[in-house]
Structure formats: structure tokens, C-alpha cells
């Protein structure tokens, strides 16, 4: 079936290093993609989004890349900090405006 998924369930990264979190999607009709961060016991927190007419978008310490050819989305976090430890979800949206979430990647930052 069509779904959004992440390549790896866990990622351990050294503080100060860059992190890359990957996501594959299968629905070519999706035209809006979002990365959310979820800390334990809290709701998903918006990080950055990208529309299908773009292939890169940058925020503060974060960059999202979209490769529509291979249906791949990635989130890059520069200079990872302890506060970046969380579960990261990619989500896709089609014209129906509801979000479909991937399974999540747990990022652990090592001091």
C-alpha cells in the first residue's frame, strides 16, 4: 500500500556532528511534506516543511531535501545538540489535507 516510512528506526549521533534522517514515500500524488519532532510525552512539534515544487528548503540548523524521482525525503540537522534528542517523523499530505505519518526515527545525541 501507499505509505510514508523511515529507513532507520534509531540514530545515535555525537554532539556537534550533523544528523541525517531519511524517509521514503510511495505516493507520487503527495505534494506537501513535513518533518515533526516529538519529545517524550509531548505532541508533534513542527520543524520544517517543503512543497513538491521545491527540492530543498533551509531553516535554522535544519535542511529538508526532497527527491521526487526516487520519492525520498531527508532532514539534516547541523551541529546536533542534546536538545535534538527526540523521535522525528516525516509526514506527507495529498490534496485531502490529512497527514500520513511515517513510523519515526529515534535520535539519541551522545555527549
Amino acid at each position: 500500500g501507499e505509505s510514508v516510512g523511515l529507513h532507520l528506526p534509531t540514530l545515535s549521533v555525537q554532539e556537534g556532528d550533523n544528523s541525517i534522517i531519511n524517509c521514503a514515500y510511495s505516493n507520487s500524488a503527495s505534494d506537501y511534506f513535513i518533518w515533526y519532532k516529538q519529545e517524550s510525552g509531548k505532541g508533534p512539534q513542527f520543524i520544517i516543511d517543503i512543497r513538491s515544487n521545491m527540492d530543498k528548503r533551509q531553516g535554522q540548523r535544519v535542511t529538508v531535501l526532497l527527491n521526487k524521482t526516487v520519492k525520498h525525503l531527508s532532514l539534516q540537522i547541523a551541529a546536533t545538540q542534546p536538545g535534538d534528542s527526540a523521535v522525528y517523523f516525516c509526514a506527507e499530505e495529498r490534496g485531502d489535507y490529512k497527514l500520513s505519518f511515517g513510523a519515526g526515527t529515534t535520535v539519541t545525541v551522545r555527549a
Binding site: 506537501y32 499530505e93 489535507y97 505519518f101
Partner: protein, 113 residues
């Protein structure tokens, strides 16, 4: 900064009881959503609400579920007769318009015994 708020933060109920989960979306938002997350799993869409009616619902959102916007600020999710498998975190979200960012509340953790 405006936030989506939800009450209660935790709810424990007996199987078969009715529960109402409450949300106050961001004030200028027009689209409202409920999602749920079973422990350790991904966030799942339940229902979307716009212009005082349901615009879409998932297979999970059966006849036991209902939503309401009783006034200009609250958005509620009611489960009429809870089942054990309804135990989950329930998140409310809102947005200004279509394909704009959805902002999530902190969630209500529902435990059905």
C-alpha cells in the same frame, strides 16, 4: 506564541464508559483534526473538521466516535463506549488553511481499563 491546548492531560476510564476529550485550537485557525498514537506506534489520522462538519474520517473513526465544535473556541472528541484498544495518546491539531502547517496540542493520554 499561540498554542493548541488539550484537556485533560490524562484520563483513566473503565471499558464501556463515555469520554470527552477537549481541545482549544489556535484562534484564527479554520481546520481542526484529531489524531491518535498508540504507545510506540506512529501517529494516525482520525478525523478532519471544517466549516462545522466532518470533511474526512478514517476507518478508525467508527460510530463510537464523534466530534463537535460547541462554541467558537472548543473542539471535542467523544468516544461513546470505550474499548481497551482505545487506549492511546489523542492529539488535536489545527491549521489556518489547506496545506498550511498543522499545529499539534500536547495530547491527552487515555487509558481504558
Amino acid at each position: 506564541e499561540p498554542e493548541v491546548t488539550q484537556t485533560p492531560s490524562h484520563q483513566v476510564t473503565q471499558m464501556g464508559q463515555e469520554v470527552i476529550l477537549r481541545c482549544v485550537p489556535i484562534s484564527n485557525h479554520l481546520y481542526f483534526y484529531w489524531y491518535r498514537q498508540i504507545l510506540g506506534q506512529k501517529v494516525e489520522f482520525l478525523v478532519s473538521f471544517y466549516n462545522n462538519e466532518i470533511s474526512e474520517k478514517s476507518e478508525i473513526f467508527d460510530d463510537q466516535f464523534s466530534v463537535e465544535r460547541p462554541d467558537g473556541s472548543n473542539f471535542t472528541l467523544k468516544i461513546r463506549s470505550t474499548k481497551l484498544e482505545d487506549s492511546a495518546m489523542y492529539f488535536c491539531a489545527s491549521r489556518t488553511g489547506g496545506q498550511e502547517t498543522q499545529y499539534f496540542g500536547p495530547g491527552t493520554r487515555l487509558l481504558v481499563l
